[in-house]
Symmetry: none
Subunit: 189 residues, 4 copies
């Protein structure tokens, strides 16, 4: 079905761009095709349907986000507090890089949630949760319900990236958000 992965990636890039700017029903497949410089029929060589394309985009974006975080955590020498600040930073960078990613963490409220999708979300949260738990073990954090807190973080970062007052730069926002979260986790300062 696919071979020319370069073309598939171009379609995904284009679709990601368009889906990030308009709601699902305003994005026409003919727009996607034109912007990706492929024929409309070609889309169907790579994706079963419009829904399929949409989820492929979400999936790819989400996966790459999680991969970035995993790489960071694998390589860093920082403690849980530095790790948390780091993943907040990565999250924020993703949001800034493509408005679309903002949809990733919750927008698609009303869409059917596939198992694949649930898995990804769970991966993200358990990643946060892991950091929190290791912070607790080290006596750095305290939190009665790390699973819940893990869910706060993405929503918090999403909100502030979406709506940050114009003046606030990425650095400023990340620093402030990290401190807020760390204090929220009871980090002694």
């Amino acid at each position: 079905m696919k071979e020319d992965s370069e073309k598939e990636q171009r379609i995904l890039d284009t679709a990601a761009e368009l889906f990030s700017r308009q709601p699902f029903h305003k994005v026409l497949l003919s727009d996607v095709a034109r912007a990706a410089a492929v024929g409309k029929g070609t889309l169907y060589l790579y994706f079963k349907s419009k829904d399929d394309l949409y989820f492929a985009v979400l999936f790819r974006e989400f996966s790459s986000l999680i991969d970035s975080m995993r790489s960071f955590l694998d390589e860093t020498e920082l403690g849980p507090d530095g790790q948390l600040a780091g993943v907040v930073r990565i999250l924020a960078e993703h949001f800034y890089a493509r408005a679309f990613n903002m949809e990733l963490l919750g927008f698609v409220v009303t869409c059917p949630v596939t198992d694949e999708w649930k898995q990804l979300r769970a991966d993200l949260w358990s990643l946060f949760e892991g950091i929190i738990r290791s912070g607790i073990e080290q006596g750095l954090f305290r939190d009665e319900d790390p699973a819940l807190t893990a869910r706060y973080i993405s929503g918090l970062v999403r909100a502030v990236c979406l709506f940050a007052p114009g003046a606030a730069g990425l650095d400023e926002v990340c620093r402030h958000a990290s401190e807020f979260v760390l204090r929220g986790l009871g980090k002694k300062q």
Copy 2:
């Protein structure tokens, strides 16, 4: 042209219900009409288009949310910490009451943001910001950027309501989230 505001409200209620369960393009105006027990043409007596209806729904929900908060703040005797816990609770209740409301605070990513809409959002945030600032004045909170923090709160509550692990009840979630926020604001405990 109209007069029967009761009918308009029924349409809005119905539409809110349907839009909360399906994405925009899956909600048919004929469904709305049938569910609201009015003729299809009647919808157009009250709303210019499907988009118009959609925004009217969003707007009403958001307005009612803000009104609830304002009433609460007007009547309560609580200090800033109690106020914050209160508005978190109200936010969470709205999200639980109708999944749809979850779109409220994030939806507008891809949609044309009107001035009316911006105003509502600004109202919500300044409401949070006001509480934070009075907490700071009273030496209860510390926060370098209350405007930024105000933006966290709704995103945080939204995320946790959307994704709270099944077991977590509303009370539990609210208590935990409030404490997290209050700690994040440096409240001495």
Copy 3:
């Protein structure tokens, strides 16, 4: 069914005005009602349907045109040539007075032609035909087929009124058209 003939006339006037400016399907009954300052339902007290209203308008305009001509012919002392010039003038005045009348004599090609309507048309033509025949009898005109010629006249006047080059005034047009017709009828000059 009707009593308040003043209101009926107002509706007819208004409808005539609107039908003269737009094709049938662009004229909405709500426009007619508003412009006539009556309720939409009121239209149905006086006319069975939109079609009915349309034909009532055509009928009234046409009848008044024929009446004008008949009055003129009854009162004039002129010979057939003066009579012809006179009815051309009346025709042209009607066309100028209300663009709508231009539809009268043929526009409604594709509409169902009722018997009433056919009768009116026949009346108009026989009126022209009568003048021509009396001219022939008096040795003033010659024409192998007065019935055919009668049909020319209204079309000719209609065309020139519709499309007269901007500069041409009513007087000029009438004089020229009459002379053309009279010459066409072989009037010695």
Copy 4:
């Protein structure tokens, strides 16, 4: 977007046929599509809207009429009188061939008159006017206002074709109308 001009022509043919038998609002695009044996969506591949299709039909018919006349005039050896009889004949044939064409010269009363359309009308008239003027130069006709007379002719032919008494055949009508016009132009006989 298109290429298959054959299909476009088939749609135009079909639409011309249907528009010639019913008023605009009675012609459904689904009828057009079915009769032209194309999908409903295909219509929109070639024409922006129903209005657009309608004007395309009018335009094509009118253009072909003028082309016929031009060809005739280019090839004929006849003098101005024969030329006039010839174009009258062509006009009448067009009207007979398709009732629809009858709208051509009058329809535009109530419709937005585009420049393209004005140009066509002007072309038709200047064609008549040219014949008349050359007749005048040759001492065959006399006419104080050939521009006005040019406008009579189409209206005259249209009227008689529309309303010719049943018995009158095309030949008969053309001969009679031509003679009438020629006499109107003062042709010595």
